[in-house]
Symmetry: D2
Amino acid sequence: MGIVLGANEYGKAETRLVRVDREGDRHTLHDLNVSVALRGDLDGTHLTGDNATVLPTDSMKNTVYVFARRYGVGQIEDFGLRLARHFVDSQPSIGAARVSIEEYGWTRLGPHSFARDGGETRTAVLTYDGRESWAVGGLHGLVLLNSTDSEFWGYVKDEYTTLPETRERVLATAVAASWRFGTVPDDWADTNAGVRADLVEAFVETYSRSLQQTLYQMGRRVLENRPEVVEVRLSLPNRHHLLVDLAPFGQDNPNEVFVAADRPYGLIEGTVLRDDAPPAGLAWW
Amino acid sequence: MGIVLGANEYGKAETRLVRVDREGDRHTLHDLNVSVALRGDLDGTHLTGDNATVLPTDSMKNTVYVFARRYGVGQIEDFGLRLARHFVDSQPSIGAARVSIEEYGWTRLGPHSFARDGGETRTAVLTYDGRESWAVGGLHGLVLLNSTDSEFWGYVKDEYTTLPETRERVLATAVAASWRFGTVPDDWADTNAGVRADLVEAFVETYSRSLQQTLYQMGRRVLENRPEVVEVRLSLPNRHHLLVDLAPFGQDNPNEVFVAADRPYGLIEGTVLRDDAPPAGLAWW
Amino acid sequence: MGIVLGANEYGKAETRLVRVDREGDRHTLHDLNVSVALRGDLDGTHLTGDNATVLPTDSMKNTVYVFARRYGVGQIEDFGLRLARHFVDSQPSIGAARVSIEEYGWTRLGPHSFARDGGETRTAVLTYDGRESWAVGGLHGLVLLNSTDSEFWGYVKDEYTTLPETRERVLATAVAASWRFGTVPDDWADTNAGVRADLVEAFVETYSRSLQQTLYQMGRRVLENRPEVVEVRLSLPNRHHLLVDLAPFGQDNPNEVFVAADRPYGLIEGTVLRDDAPPAGLAWW
Amino acid sequence: MGIVLGANEYGKAETRLVRVDREGDRHTLHDLNVSVALRGDLDGTHLTGDNATVLPTDSMKNTVYVFARRYGVGQIEDFGLRLARHFVDSQPSIGAARVSIEEYGWTRLGPHSFARDGGETRTAVLTYDGRESWAVGGLHGLVLLNSTDSEFWGYVKDEYTTLPETRERVLATAVAASWRFGTVPDDWADTNAGVRADLVEAFVETYSRSLQQTLYQMGRRVLENRPEVVEVRLSLPNRHHLLVDLAPFGQDNPNEVFVAADRPYGLIEGTVLRDDAPPAGLAWW
């Protein structure tokens, strides 16, 4: 019997970068949170503290800033992939790199003035192993609600079931979605905006008998409309809106007054994909 | 020498209420976080545990839900004032009530579908003492940024000052604002939307030599445009965007690449008001 | 009618400082979050952007670090007061300074190893106006629970009251406390530890008929035991532990199984003070 | 080409349970956050909204509370495994269940009084697939710091490296650890306390040339001392403590005054395991 080092990785997390592009008086803003993770021949540093194959995480941070100046940010998938390639191609000991980016949106108020969009965050994860690269787009914090067209009934009733069946409920969730690309789209931003629209429209248009049904329709809609996407992963908390019992006060409550509950919440997670999707490789790392 | 009970209050905080108004197929959503605080003759419960003058905080919660059903929510100032009046007028032992409301905005996606607006929150604080009432509108989480037209120089240099003067910097802040009403406006929502627009426009249009200067202009703009508002309080964190030194890498950085720093941050707080503003009374409780 | 600048202040918030004292091989740690706020003649910067009376907040941050090196941190009340005095005494335009400090505790694991204490935070607020100084000690995040010896009955029942009276409930709260000093104690740490012990013991030992009663006893206990403290302010959320109704499952629930609810919560706030306490002046700013 | 449903699961997350055990006057407290996830034949609900195989997440919540009353909580591994077995054994459509538990510690203050331990949280993940079960213990939020005995040098220097080598630095991290059991220990609590002690002692006693080296020693120490544990996974953020440059103020800084930085941070993640560890199966789900 022996004790061995298993899977491991390291990197710099949450490098906050704001890039202002100045074309004359009209500025553009990129507001990113960049995390880098590397895998490779890292036995030395773990086993003996020999750092000969370790690029300092501080250097990764510097690289993010230098690349932002040298190449601009542009679309975060391009920016992330450039970084991932750089680390693998320049470090012999590094076998694979993953660059995860959160992008915070800003609404233009003027030529050089902006208001930050709240809540929703765009994400991208770019992975490269020296030969192949993978791209996963995503978003989180998109909170959606349908105030009708949602039912829940016909479920298992065991001895611990007290939930009444309903043909009318509020359905609300905070969408966290990731979508794997099979091919590089013509325009990342265009595709990603399209995916977001698909997700929203499917949520809105699905007459729902379960959040799982809505989840599947959301993933399906993306795959139907976006040939470049081969897999969609969704994590949907069921943000319960509990009907308040007003009978003690002599009032009915015809689906009007709800408690927005914090916890507990249902959590529905699922994958929708093409049956001929290529292997995921390191896409999900 | 004796030990005495000083100022005190109690109430139910953070009652989460979602009200769906159903007019045929087209629904409207009110999403609130309601906190109630009461003052009055509460010596008994503090000194001896005699609760004869204590309305349970659970009853306050119930009242919020019942009133939402009975009267609807409408504008949060009306809803809050109705609640504040109710507690004082129905409880002989209660001398004053404050109802603080956060409202979370939702963007319509369809007749009964919505996406929650992130980040920014509307607030209202309604206070009533049995004779007089006060209304304070507000917002927080409005993050604004100017990528130019901001300078900072001519300041005190003491022995601990190393900050270089600058004629060009990024100015960013998360606005927390409260505005006291001198009179009841024709339409609360209309006025509050106008105040928000004034704050944003003043931020955008002010060529700034200090965040204090911007703060003052924001408050002034509101008072100039909104006769019903008599006082504006602003709390503006200076969200520093630090220029990255790229010289070690042989690059300049002409105000393009910044670190968005978390901490520490400057914190600028100030009040702008009319010189004939009526006394604030319990407005700020 | 005119528009005027009202009360205002500015400063550097949340400067994170860790000070390692090395006496031979045995180290000591001070882990602080320091916020500075200044008031004074600041009309220029607000009204015209003239910063001639503005000490940059960056210089305040530097001062915190320099003072930590030069004088050590020692007890945070001494450290904070030294800083407050410095800003007022060295800047003619500044009339008053407030230094607010959070201290995070660490438990010693070895001569130079430590584990951070979670949850609870010590605080101190030191204020100086050029002539007089004020000290307020405090803590927050101290979560206490009694699993019995708590009742709640005999309260007002209005038409919205459904809460059943109880002679047996769980009482839990997260204590946020501040205590104003009338005189400088021999040893700040000693007094503050004593106040904490008083608060905890009074919570534990009070047979409670309301959280207000417990609050008063907590404040009273401090004032009885600590002559140097003249006023105690307490903010006590009532962290409801709701008895789960297990009757649908054929089980009783003799005060054994509870839901720890997030929201809403009761919020009980009160002051206990000496009837001969000196005026608070700027103690509470 | 077709679109298909891939991996999916659902359950109730974050059911907050407080269990008071009353043995005469001396009470014991269990404070848990329980999350259940189920996998199985869930095509119907996803594809057509047919919920015939769906046990409502509300029933899972009820089961948690009923089991807490009926069996007590005891050790969370036993409690979690009992729940996992129940869901799989009672629901023909469910193939596997995972019960994840966070336990919040409380320090006894008296026979029925407690103070909540802050920061650190114990975790357990119990998985069952109808034939086999897996147990993973864990903790997170354990913040450790060595103020010396940490170096970092001999690393790769690329064109973006500016970090100076050091033979003396502060090393701090917030430990998130999970350990997989190969066999059921005699006493879960005893083993878990032992693992925690091993992690802490290895952190304290390792003279560190990289956080990776410390990570490996932490995992190794556990495996050496705990035959029932076969694999340890560690996620260690490097909480940078940056030495403040006091030279502009004419002062040196002999490793005394540091900025505790929020972001970015290094993130070191690794697994240490026995070379004869049995397959992980669903242990990590």
